[in-house]
Symmetry: C2
Subunit: 437 residues, 2 copies
């Protein structure tokens, strides 16, 4: 049995913090210890307690004075878009047709998928993200490449082959039957294998025929333990087109509703322009609205109203995500910063404890994964991020005037980037130290 | 005479680019050379031409394959706010009272001012910024410290002591007469000395009495070669308060208009919520509206409408700036990225060539400084930034698919930060290489 103690300042959330001084919402230990056994947190507490309980001879990774949290979770990303990130000048539909779809055709070459999957998971590790919900391309090979690489690294990843049978280049379209067959085969091969999960992934209403959405419905019914991920209500042109393609659905959310795709394991990327009815039905079904701040801003899609969604009479379950490559950064620190700004433009402020809750325990709740990830609870997988708020000269200077944990977290999210990630642990193993520069 | 050739890919703007392929708007040389003599660009051209003209024995700094531009210019920043950057949760007026004013009181200690001035200019160099228009505090010592440090580095800096005689803590308020006297003394001591310029700096209408604005008016009349910098129309509460304090002015811009503070050397930070009348009078007087994107977003003040201001019948002169510490980053690359996002939310896109024009030649035009900085023209000061679009693994991967100069620039502004600044030259001398890490 492998055993190791990880030492540092520990922070793990119990509930969403209501204010920057809501200490009841988290566990914080200034000199904390985690006893990691075979990749899981066997015991947590002060370093002194954990060290005494562990007995003699257990090696210690001492990260003081850094802050150790559960690894970040990214609830929506497109690994095949790494080479179109930062493409100029388009809104959503033009951006897809001009940049993204041509890029995704490259993944018919399995070697390309393998290379980009490696690069993507390197970026996750570099940025302290240990779980992501990932879109592959239409090609089954692209999902195979991603799952294989994630398995090799023992990472808790969620992914799915994109189902799309219209409004895209021929090289990127499947058929209702082939999309069903390929998804089914991938579920059989990868879902539940090691730390991997499958997400049934119709790209969005615009690129799926009614027949294909029926197939997605069948897959969801047959595999209720799989995720379902898609896009919803990102920008006005997209909404108008979705409504035109499904005139009987009433509204965009109604399309997915008709095909049984709402539910507690359903992740809807964006949800920017929801009507009250749409928000109600998402709430009633326990569906998750995924906030992608850098993408909101970069594509100019609009401003996800996180506070309104969480505080309405029928609240939404929310998650936060990079949406790379419509989003512009792999870092959840940078994503939280942009999230703060989007919420500020909506006239509210999200306190930094709530931001860090969202990208750790909050996202784990959204993914129904709190038993395994998102906290430092005993029994959890030891997926960790080690944060250094003194990573750059500008941060060091600012840290001199920081007096509270909330201020430190806010500094990390406002000024921090991958340089502030001192280490990333995946199932108890150091993963960042070994990356190429 | 010191002579040196700087080699690399050279980019310098002649006019604002109208589109990503507007090659007539810039000078680009794939293997370019600059002959630098005593801190000035004596000759520019291909490396072969410049090298032949220079003769034997001139040392060469070879920066290939990096891209060399005129140093970035930051048209609005507050050096005393380095230790309040990333302060949580407030809009403008609360942010000033809660964080910024207490911080600025520390500058009664000259040693503190000296230390922060050093740190600030280090950040400028680290981020490739060679000229900034800087607010000091109310204390004359804070301006002395800044100018002295800028002079020591031979940097082309603009700064001024803040004039503020009400609505601030006692320790931060001067009087109309003392603000006149201190400003006058500073102008006499520093304006035009080396590469330094003075900016007469009433903080904003809210913190100046009518009597103090009369003193600012006198200073501007007596020193038409100095700059005037202040804040205008940043957020709604500020506008309402300014209007309440000056009920006869008609609107916020009217306050400054009454006191003769509009004009071609006047820099107005923010200008987010201008009426048509206000925009007209700014245009007619040649006043400059300064766009501070990270600050717009961070404080939630609103969205500067760059395209509308530039394209209206009476266009505004515009500049771009960090507004540190209401802004959240020292980097003009990060600032351009956020500027793109603000403009996208206004429904337009700014092409990357126009962004890079704005922060080099465009800002030099706004500061009436194109004779000395903002281009690679012969006769200009050799203030340069050397940019590396392959600075991080994510950038390197994306660079594989970049085919045009515009795409490279957009990648630099979207994914780049201080790591993408390979070197910064100040008057022909390498300045970044010597910084502490």
């Amino acid at each position: 049995m492998s055993r190791r103690i990880i030492r540092g300042r520990m922070l793990s959330f119990e509930a969403i913090p209501q204010a920057p001084d809501d200490a009841a919402a988290y566990w914080y230990e200034a000199d904390g210890g985690l006893l990691v056994e075979d990749g899981k947190i066997a015991r947590r507490g002060s370093f002194a307690e954990v060290s005494a309980a562990a007995g003699e001879g257990v090696p210690v990774d001492d990260h003081r004075p850094h802050l150790i949290l559960p690894g970040f979770i990214d609830a929506h990303a497109h690994y095949p878009q790494m080479q179109v990130i930062a493409s100029f000048g388009a809104e959503l539909l033009e951006w897809l047709n001009k940049y993204t779809f041509p890029e995704e055709t490259k993944f018919s070459d399995p070697a390309h998928g393998e290379r980009i999957a490696k690069a993507f998971l390197d970026e996750m590790v570099r940025n302290g993200t240990t779980t992501s919900a990932v879109y592959c391309t239409m090609r089954r090979e692209s999902a195979e490449a991603f799952f294989a690489e994630a398995e090799r690294r023992n990472m808790a990843m969620i992914a799915g082959k994109v189902m799309m049978d219209r409004n895209a280049p021929d090289a990127l379209t499947d058929t209702p039957q082939s999309s069903y067959d390929d998804s089914k085969a991938l579920i059989g091969r990868w879902h539940g294998r090691g730390r991997l999960s499958y997400a049934i992934t119709p790209r969005f209403a615009i690129t799926s025929t009614p027949e294909q959405l029926e197939m997605a419905q069948a897959l969801v019914a047959e595999h209720p333990d799989c995720y379902m991920q898609t896009h919803l209500s990102e920008n006005h042109a997209e909404i108008a087109l979705a409504n035109a393609l499904f005139p009987k659905a009433g509204d965009y959310t109604g399309v997915y509703e008709r095909y049984g795709l709402l539910g507690p394991k359903s992740l809807f990327g964006h949800c920017i322009h929801l009507s009250e009815r749409e928000a109600d039905v998402l709430s009633e079904t326990g569906s998750v609205a995924v906030f992608c701040p850098t993408s909101n801003l970069f594509l100019g899609s609009g401003l996800f109203d996180w506070q309104r969604y969480r505080n309405r009479a029928k609240p939404l379950r929310t998650a936060m995500a990079t949406d790379v490559g419509g989003g512009t950064n792999y870092s959840m620190l940078r994503t939280m910063d942009e999230g703060y700004k989007v919420i500020a433009l909506n006239g509210e402020k999200i306190n930094p404890l709530a931001s860090f809750w969202q990208v750790t325990r909050g996202n784990a709740e959204a993914l129904s994964l709190t038993d395994g990830i998102g906290t430092l609870d005993e029994g959890s997988d030891a997926d960790l991020v080690v944060l250094d708020a003194n990573a750059t000269p500008a941060m060091r200077l600012r840290m001199e005037t920081v007096g509270t944990l909330a201020e430190e977290l806010f500094l990390l999210q406002t000024l921090g980037d991958d340089r502030a990630v001192a280490e990333t642990y995946v199932a108890g193993q150091k993963a960042k130290a070994g990356l190429a520069g």
